[in-house]
């Protein structure tokens, strides 16, 4: 009798497990077809000289050899890493500033939050075009404003001048979805910091800056980690959607904004070298992995967990 019951229970258990797997099935099929298979296929195709029209031949590591001897590639790799790191830092700082401002309880906070988050829902193409004209040489808003203050006519082509392009591009990243998302997450994280900690600081007479570095930052560090991970993915992903309409597929000026994703697109569709583009995608894939590992390695040292 007891035996019978336990076998029935285990049968029931197995049935429950099967139900769970059935629910997971859509994800698993999708994961196999749209993630795992493309990854494998990417590695294989990177060893061929596949063209856009589908003709391909196995050529071993020739794509990688070409890549490593190409200055365009090295430039793109450098720009990608630089762009990703600076974008994460700049947008995170801006997001924290906005979150701290919003967490200072005042009237009209709802309206302020609306304004702060609104650029995030604007399509990146529209954003890029807005800034192409704002940063434009003739009749650009920025030049006009500076001219008023400087008292003379200023005409800088902000996006095509090698001295100003990074300033302009990173300023534009403040308006991307990434920043808005971080701001909202930081806001709720800052709200969760226990008030008593600040009160203790006040008793000790700590300055605002010390309060921030000794209380706020450690308390929100797990969220900083999460934002860094998400920011890294969206910087690698979003750089294409932002820079393609902004500075074109050649990453003007002089390839200074030529991130790897733009190079992948250019090689595959303008030069029709799909095999080579796959080799570049492999590098992009590993860059993403390295960023992930690096962020977790840093976090092991820097992130403070309450429990």
């Amino acid at each position: 009798m007891a035996n019978n019951q336990s076998s029935k229970a285990s049968k029931n258990k197995r049935k429950n497990h099967l139900t769970a797997y059935a629910f997971c099935a859509p994800w698993f099929i999708g994961f196999l077809c749209f993630t795992l298979f493309p990854i494998g296929f990417m590695f294989i195709t990177s060893l061929t000289n596949r063209k856009l029209n589908g003709i391909s031949q196995f050529i071993g590591l020739a794509n990688y050899k070409n890549m490593l001897s190409s200055p365009t590639f090295w430039n793109s790799l450098k720009v990608t890493i630089f762009f990703t790191i600076i974008m994460i830092v700049v947008t995170a700082i801006w997001a924290v500033i906005m979150a701290m401002l919003l967490n200072y309880k005042q009237r009209l906070n709802g309206i302020f939050q609306f304004c702060y988050f609104l650029p995030s829902v604007v399509p990146s193409v529209a954003l890029a075009y807005a800034f192409r004209t704002i940063f434009g040489k003739d009749a650009g808003l920025l030049n006009a404003v500076i001219s008023i203050f400087a008292g003379k006519n200023i005409s800088i082509n902000w996006l095509y001048d090698s001295h100003t392009v990074y300033f302009a591009v990173f300023f534009i990243t403040l308006f991307t979805y990434n920043t808005g998302q971080m701001m909202l997450i930081f806001r709720s994280a800052l709200n969760d910091v226990p008030r008593e900690l600040y009160e203790a600081c006040d008793l000790d007479g700590a300055s605002g800056l010390r309060k921030f570095s000794n209380v706020t930052l450690p308390m929100i560090s797990p969220i900083v980690l999460f934002n860094a991970v998400m920011g890294c993915t969206s910087a690698l992903n979003g750089s294409f959607a932002l820079l393609y309409p902004l500075t074109g597929e050649n990453g003007d000026p002089n390839g200074m904004t030529h991130v790897l994703s733009l190079l992948v697109y250019k090689e595959a569709f303008s030069n029709m070298k799909v095999g080579y583009a796959c080799a570049l995608s492999v590098v992009l894939f590993f860059v993403a992995c390295c960023f992930g590992i690096a962020i977790f390695a840093i976090s092991k040292k820097a992130v403070f967990y309450e429990n």
Partner: protein
């Protein structure tokens, strides 16, 4: 007597200090708000300017308001075709991800089974792979099965659960007390029954939240359509903004910026309205994505 006065003075100065601080903070807030808002104002105002005004001065308020730019876009391009494509893409992908992601998140939030942690780890891991790294092999793959130049490469994968949305659904499902499930089991509900009769009704706002997030994402999506679509028939508004609207600007030497600004205005307004109506849902969804655990 003297001490009392001193006290009063101190209180008074503390109050003024507080007041100054409040004014300082609110003016900082306003400056940031102006910075965040001016690109949108610039686009809106630009769409009402004439080409000459746009290329000669940087006024915020246009001198002569003109609707000509909007007419130009409607007349010279298949605007409504692009709009239809965008709405189809947005609707198809959003519906797909809502159905599939919620179903996948259910066992991850509620059931115990071997391999659960591994599956969750893979889901979180794949969240970190940037889509752009896999887009070329996917392009070849979709070319082989003849899906290129249609909306299928974007809509079909959405029906197989997005990791990010699975993660969000799981977080929301976990906030519903488990006792409710158990009482439903006692009432004779199956696993499927619990999902449809307990979790779905209780997490309706979650579905709205993830739906709004997904709609905004697909309305704004540029990368995938740029790779997968090349004919006019399936163009979405974002690619039209990069190609058609650019080319229909007439004279090739001068880009007709005001008409492009008009097209941008038309693109900005729907997500803006969506955000205005559903800001509570949007904010809630993004905040939840930052939760630990």
């Amino acid at each position: 007597m003297r001490i009392k006065r001193k006290d009063g003075e101190k209180m008074y100065s503390a109050r003024t200090k507080k007041k100054i601080e409040r004014i300082g903070v609110i003016s900082l807030k306003s400056i940031v708000a102006v910075i965040m808002f001016f690109p949108i104002v610039w686009v809106f105002s630009g769409s009402f300017k004439t080409l000459t005004e746009f290329t000669t001065s940087a006024n915020i308020m246009p001198k002569n308001l003109t609707w000509e730019n909007f007419n130009y876009i409607f007349k010279n391009s298949n605007y409504f075709l692009y709009l239809r494509n965008t709405v189809l893409l947005m609707g198809g992908a959003t519906l797909g991800t809502l159905v599939s992601s919620s179903l996948v998140a259910y066992p991850l939030a509620r059931m115990e089974f071997p391999g659960k942690n591994a599956i969750f780890a893979i889901i979180v891991g794949t969240m970190m792979i940037p889509n752009i790294a896999l887009i070329i092999p996917q392009y070849i793959m979709f070319g082989k099965i003849g899906w290129l130049d249609s909306l299928l490469p974007m809509i079909i994968p959405a029906w197989f659960a997005y990791p990010y949305n699975v993660f969000l659904f799981r977080q929301f499902f976990r906030s519903i007390p488990k006792e409710l499930d158990e009482s439903a089991y006692i009432d004779g509900c199956s696993k499927m029954g619990v999902f449809f009769k307990v979790l779905v009704p209780l997490t309706q706002p979650t579905f709205v939240t993830i739906g709004v997030l997904s709609c905004v994402f697909w309305w704004n999506e540029l990368t995938q359509p740029v790779f997968y679509i090349n004919s006019d028939r399936w163009r979405t508004l974002t690619i039209a903004l990069m190609t058609t609207f650019m080319y229909t600007s007439g004279n090739t030497f001068v880009i007709n910026w005001p008409s492009i600004m008009a097209a941008c205005t038309l693109m900005i307004i729907p997500p803006m309205i969506l955000y205005l109506c559903g800001s509570r849902f949007l904010v809630e969804g993004i905040k939840t994505s930052g939760l630990k655990g």
